[in-house]
Symmetry: C2
Subunit: 313 residues, 2 copies
Amino acid sequence: MPANLTRVALIQMSCSPDTQANLDKAVARVREAALAGAKLICLPELFRAQYFCQREDHALFATAEPIPGRSTAALSEVVREHSLVVIASLFERRAPGLYHNTAAILDHASTNPDNILGVYRKMHIPDDPLYYEKFYFTPGDIGFQAQKTSAGPIGTLVCWDQWYPEGARITALKGAETLFFPTAIGWHPSEKVEFGERQYDAWQTIQRAHAIANGVFVCAVNRVGHEHGDVTHNGVNMPGPGSHTPQDGLEFWGGSFIADPFGRILAKASHDKEEILYADLDSAEVETTRQHWPFLRDRRIDAYGGITSRFLD
Amino acid sequence: MPANLTRVALIQMSCSPDTQANLDKAVARVREAALAGAKLICLPELFRAQYFCQREDHALFATAEPIPGRSTAALSEVVREHSLVVIASLFERRAPGLYHNTAAILDHASTNPDNILGVYRKMHIPDDPLYYEKFYFTPGDIGFQAQKTSAGPIGTLVCWDQWYPEGARITALKGAETLFFPTAIGWHPSEKVEFGERQYDAWQTIQRAHAIANGVFVCAVNRVGHEHGDVTHNGVNMPGPGSHTPQDGLEFWGGSFIADPFGRILAKASHDKEEILYADLDSAEVETTRQHWPFLRDRRIDAYGGITSRFLD
């Protein structure tokens, strides 16, 4: 591959009730992507488990893990083996009673434990029917992050963050030229027919807009498949009170995509199948696009103070 | 029409070299829209002249006008006659040697001269081949603005502003529930075949994203037609040095559109014809959309300070 190109891979996968099986699958898919030439590989949000935030269950805190921990140890092996950068979204146990939705950025060039170059702790935490994340995740306290990886300058934001132009902007201002959004978003089965298409469209549109506004590549990677929120921990199924949610779970809509710095879709995955999505990103396109659409030049930083207000009434 | 609905109209028009003819046309189209039931009507950017920023010519400062002035006087007649709110984008002469690209918001319920409820002075000023606005327009110094009009709470931003999520966000935080973007954007004829579609698509995408991020209606109104930048002032044609630009002018791409608070297109105009674009906006949709997609609830205003930096290196 020409030196100016970096092959990225997004692992669109389904998650089973067995967390070890999910980790094994993730490692295998990362290896497969590496063998296909990818150097920068992103897993979906919280890929180790089914999306447990469909219910509020104290027992599920037991599935959180430290960073570094078992997941990063397993991934660091393939990271070193193939000289990779891998983004892994994990349920982080930071201290007793303090948990985050955290992305670990592993880089073979990093000498830290488990090759962890940096972490990002999800800043915007949702709370909606079947997405009860405020119960589990303390909002991030280290702000928006960019990393200079061996595969180029990147930034990671997680799922709900994707609806906030502020997060994308600050991450880009910190030097990220490719933004990753590990995601777990899906349809309520009862809503899909009426609202499904517009929901996916809005989700894609606002992330394409982050690419346009900032002149960066955007890579969104979602899980796929219908889940009732079952989770296995140490081999014991932990269905929580009521094994199935009354709304019949969530159908994760896949549709992972990669957009160029003007928001054009370079690659898009299906809505119902596991797949690895690839694109070869040309780092020169960031600067060329920004020269032709010089939005960063003309920002009115003297007039943006209101952004830090809740409302300006 | 039910009380919860407001009919908006966007006047997609072409502009001739004759500034008086353009004003007459604008007044006639506003009247036509009013007779069709519209209460909230927006004209395109700098509709009084052909897009003179295609060249840098000191003589063209003579076409600027005070606000209140001749244009607002003419429009205020139809505003009072039909109980309207009208947004008029004008080349404002604020003081000798100080000019702005300014939107005047006229409201029949306002008792100010010419029914001027408020003004917005374009904050982000472009400078690109054939868009030499930095030569003419001093950047706005009154920040982003929202107005409580008799037809609902609105905000106006102008053209290049549309590429900046910050402007839309602050305007929404000030209470605007419908954003207007009077615009003059077009294709370089030599680029249209290769880049035209993606340029229009990026333009529409980022504005739809403003609707989504903020849960507001977005109305973008563009001019249409091929122009070489000729301007007539007081009956004297002022073609400037070289009557035609070497690049053969600009083909304004029309394509005005109205999006709902989740970014869905409610109405879209053609790319090559004058027309009046209508939609009936339901003010209740703003709150309903924000309840289902509660982005404003979860903003991390403690972590957005970096937005006021040029770069975070």
